[in-house]
C-alpha cells in the first residue's frame, strides 16, 4: 500500500460490516451508480493531460472490472452490496481502484468448477481460462481482456481475492497475499505515454 486511496480501500474491505462507509463518494451501491461515475472518468483524465487512447482503454478495463462485481454478486451479497470505486491521476501517475465485499473469485467459480482447490487456483483460472460462474450464459472474457491490455500497454494490476493475489504486468504472478480480501479488490496503475 502506498497511497491514501489504497489505504482507504483496504480499510473499506476489511472493516466490520456495521462500520463500512456507505455514504462516501467512493461507494456505488448499484451498477447504475458505478457506471455513471465511471462514465465521467476518461474525460476527467484527459482534462488532466492523459493521452486519449490510454484514458479510454483504462476506462474500458474499469468497466469490465466494475461490472464483474455486480454480475457475480447480484442478489447474493454476503453483507454490504455494491462496490468501492475510486480513481486519481496527477498528470503523470494514475490509479483506479475497484473493490467489492462479494463472494470472491473462488466461491464464484466453484459454481462452474466444483473441484477448484483454493484462491490461487481460482485466480489462475479466472485470468487464463474461458470460464464463468454464470454457467447458463456465454461469459467469462472480461479478465482476459484486462490481462491482455495490462501486458500490451505496460500497466500494473494487482488483483486480490481470498488469500490470493495476482500481480500482472508483462507476466502474471499469483501468490499468497498477506491481505485477506473477502470479495475482490483490484488496483490498476498507469502512467502517461
Amino acid at each position: 500500500m502506498n497511497t491514501d486511496l489504497e489505504k482507504l480501500v483496504f480499510k473499506w474491505i476489511t472493516t466490520e460490516t456495521n462500520k463500512v462507509d456507505v455514504s462516501g463518494d467512493f461507494y456505488c451501491q448499484t451498477r447504475d451508480v458505478f457506471e455513471a461515475r465511471n462514465d465521467k472518468m476518461p474525460e476527467e483524465l484527459i482534462k488532466k493531460g492523459l493521452d486519449d487512447s490510454l484514458a479510454y482503454l483504462v476506462y474500458a478495463m474499469a468497466g469490465e472490472l466494475g461490472n464483474n462485481a455486480f454480475d457475480h454478486n447480484v442478489g447474493n451479497w454476503p453483507n454490504i452490496m455494491g462496490a468501492f470505486y475510486a480513481f486519481d491521476y496527477d498528470g503523470k501517475d494514475g490509479i483506479i481502484i475497484i473493490a467489492d465485499r462479494g463472494v470472491g473469485v473462488l466461491n464464484s467459480l466453484r459454481k462452474a468448477v466444483p473441484d477448484l482447490k483454493d484462491d490461487l487456483d481460482a485466480l489462475e483460472m479466472a485470468f487464463t481460462k474461458k470460464i464463468s460462474s454464470r454457467v447458463l450464459e456465454n461469459r467469462g472474457n472480461g479478465l482476459k481482456f484486462v490481462r491482455g491490455n495490462v501486458s500490451k500497454n505496460n500497466l500494473l494490476l494487482e488483483f486480490f481475492s481470498g488469500n490470493a493475489k495476482a500481480d500482472l504486468n508483462h507476466e502474471m504472478k499469483i501468490s499468497v497475499s498477506d491481505q485477506i480480501v473477502a470479495g475482490c479488490l483490484v488496483i490498476l496503475k498507469f502512467q502517461n505515454i
Binding site: 457506471e35 469490465e64 461490472n67 461469459r139 472480461g142 491490455n149
Partner: protein
C-alpha cells in the same frame, strides 16, 4: 445493411446495455433479413468498447449472419475487444 455502432453510444461497456442494444437491433434493423444478407458493423465514432458489450452484439450478429464485415476498427479498445472475442468467444470475423 450497415449497423452504425456509435448510434448506441460512444462508450459501450456493460453486458446489460449490449443486450438491450441487440434487442433493439433485432426489432428495428435485423428483423426480416436473410442469413446471407451482407452486414457491415461500423465502429466509426466509438471511443470505448468492451468484450462484455460486444459479446452481446457482435458475436450474436456473427452467429446469425454469414456475410459480416467489420469497419473502422482502429480504436485500441475495439481492436482489443475483437481480439478477446476471437480468442475466447469463438468470433470468426
Amino acid at each position: 445493411m450497415k449497423i452504425e455502432i456509435a448510434k448506441f453510444g460512444n462508450k459501450l461497456v456493460s453486458r446489460p446495455s449490449g443486450r438491450e442494444a441487440y434487442l433493439a437491433m433485432e426489432s428495428y434493423l435485423l428483423k426480416d433479413l436473410q442469413k446471407d444478407e451482407p452486414i457491415e458493423i461500423d465502429f466509426l465514432g466509438v471511443k470505448a468498447l468492451t468484450p462484455s458489450w460486444a459479446d452481446e452484439v457482435v458475436t450474436k450478429i456473427a452467429e446469425r449472419f454469414s456475410n459480416v464485415k467489420l469497419l473502422n476498427t482502429e480504436n485500441s479498445t475495439v481492436e482489443a475487444t475483437l481480439k478477446t472475442l476471437r480468442e475466447y468467444s469463438d468470433l470468426k470475423i
